[in-house]
């Protein structure tokens, strides 16, 4: 019993450590003062209206959203077949191939960003959006492969063999019996990939160009010069969106599907 009191205490401390900063940021978004301050004085929604009125915030939000969507879509389109193929390789080549596909998560983001900058921007003079998309795709792919790979590991492939025997060719069997049974993995991969792309700074920093900036880089630059609560306001908006997404996932699949 005593032990569990200690554990509970640790859990509470960690929980507070995780949530208190978020609560403070949320509170500061409603303060009237022109710098971020806690506790707040007065109550206002003007920072929210200011944020939504700001061209640079809104266009970078739009860009980040589009980027995360397309990058995630690409990563799913490439990553699902790739992890399927990986799950079919023999046990000898599998760990190496898997490690290769996961390597972007082991390499520091700043290195990935710099390498991409060298190649895509300097060498190939790729348009900014295309470069960003490619970079974010690269960052997202390992998440898809890891998460979808994990749910394929749980998948009983004799199910697929039965589908073949009943008359499905391989692509059809994949669509009809494999995909529906790794659905939770795909949703989890989608979430992780989307959030990672949306939050990414190191790769975006290198690949953004004049007038094209993702939300995190815009926020970073903004904070460097001005320290007003519109940053808090946009953080609150983002948190809100995340919570809504999480609730949807929880309702449809159970939150456990993200922790698999």
């Amino acid at each position: 019993m005593r032990k569990s009191v200690g554990l509970t205490l640790i859990a509470v401390v960690v929980f507070l450590f995780l949530t208190v900063p978020l609560i403070i940021i949320t509170a500061t978004a409603f303060g009237e003062a022109s710098t971020i301050r806690f506790p707040i004085q007065g109550f206002t929604l003007k920072w929210f209206t200011a944020t939504f009125a700001s061209r640079s915030f809104m266009s970078s939000l739009g860009l980040s959203f589009a980027l995360a969507s397309y990058a995630t879509l690409l990563a799913l389109l490439v990553g699902i077949p790739a992890s399927y193929a990986l799950s079919k390789t023999t046990f000898r080549t599998n760990p190496r191939l898997r490690a290769f596909f996961l390597s972007p998560t082991f390499v520091p983001g700043i290195v990935v960003g710099y390498a991409l900058f060298q190649f895509l921007v300097i060498q190939w003079r790729m348009p900014v959006f295309a470069g960003l998309l490619l970079g974010h795709f690269l960052v997202s792919l390992p998440y898809v492969i890891r998460v979808v790979g994990a749910s394929l590991e749980q998948f009983d492939f004799s199910i697929e063999e039965v589908a073949w025997s009943l008359g499905c060719n391989k692509p059809k069997a994949f669509l009809k019996v494999v995909l529906p049974n790794i659905g939770s993995g795909i949703v989890a991969a989608f979430m992780l990939s989307f959030i990672n792309s949306f939050n990414n700074i190191p790769v975006s920093m290198f690949l953004t160009g004049p007038g094209v900036s993702t939300l995190p880089t815009t926020l970073m630059n903004y904070i460097e010069y001005s320290y007003d609560p519109s940053v808090s306001a946009i953080s609150v908006v983002l948190m809100g969106v995340t919570v809504v997404l999480m609730v949807i996932v929880e309702r449809t699949l159970g939150i456990g599907s993200l922790a698999k």
Binding site: E161, W164, S165, N181
Partner: protein
Amino acid sequence: MSYAVLENIRVSYDGKTPVLTDLNLSIERGELVSLLGASGCGKTTTLRVVGGFIEPRAGRFTLNGVDMTRTAVHKRNFGLVFQSYALFPHLTVFENVAFGLKLRKIESASLKSRVMAMLDITDLGALANRYPRQLSGGQRQRVALARALVVEPQLLLLDEPLSNLDAKLRLSMRVEIKRLQKKLGITTIFVTHDQEECFSISDRVAIMDKGVIQQFDTPEAIYSHPANEFVARFVGFTNFFNLTASGTGRCLNNLGEEMVIDEIRNHTGGQTSWTGAIRPDDIVLTGTEVSGTNRLTGSVEVRTFLGKSYQYELETKLGRVVVNAPKDSIFEPGTLVCAHLPSDKIVLC
């Protein structure tokens, strides 16, 4: 020409260790044939060659005279039931069973009636709208069977379909499988490592060891005339002794004593030595020494209680002999006993 024929099939997963070596098997139409053997002997591999999941390195598989060795799995029209049942978790019982028919573009009214008929045959009608996770093991097994049978496969392949069920259910399911198989007349290959199950259900049994079929015959023939020592051990013979011919229809054991063996009449082909075998249940023990043919004297080494009988291990001049004797006369370890090997119970292999 038999219906399904495997000719000189050779399989190796890594190119070095052979798993199947020149395997031959001919199955008649409507027959239920079992592959029986110890774990790792290649039963599943054989079944997967037939199913089209493994391409053999050499050899041919023909069905009804058509070479199918390289036909894709989905073009074979074979029914498949695995040990794990492999039901589609995201589909209901009805949808599971209808899966194969939908792919065949059967129009919906006739699809529905065929599925319902199959569900009725397998006693699943009431469960049509359940999902696999809501079924018991035996029910899942029947769904798997119904799903395989409803498409009227040319061949039904069952890989240890009963091994996840408890003993009682296994018994009733195997009767059920046999009944369905005969009723629908579907040629079936059944993989198992349970000898009783296999003998009770099969028309013919192929006993396998290390990728080679040791004997392919009816259960009765295998039980009473095992082709070699491996098969004999497999079907319960524990006592083996060497025999050499001495004149026609006569033979001597290692001690130079004559043994009378009825079966020797069937071995007229000039063979000069055999291995004789007898089951522990078929040997008769007596306490007093009796002289005569087919009698061995030995001392009791170990006695084990088996419930219905006692098992004795005797040390005789021919080596160790295992005997199961009824409970009414008990022999203490160390005593001398006489074992009678009835001439009609000894088999030659």
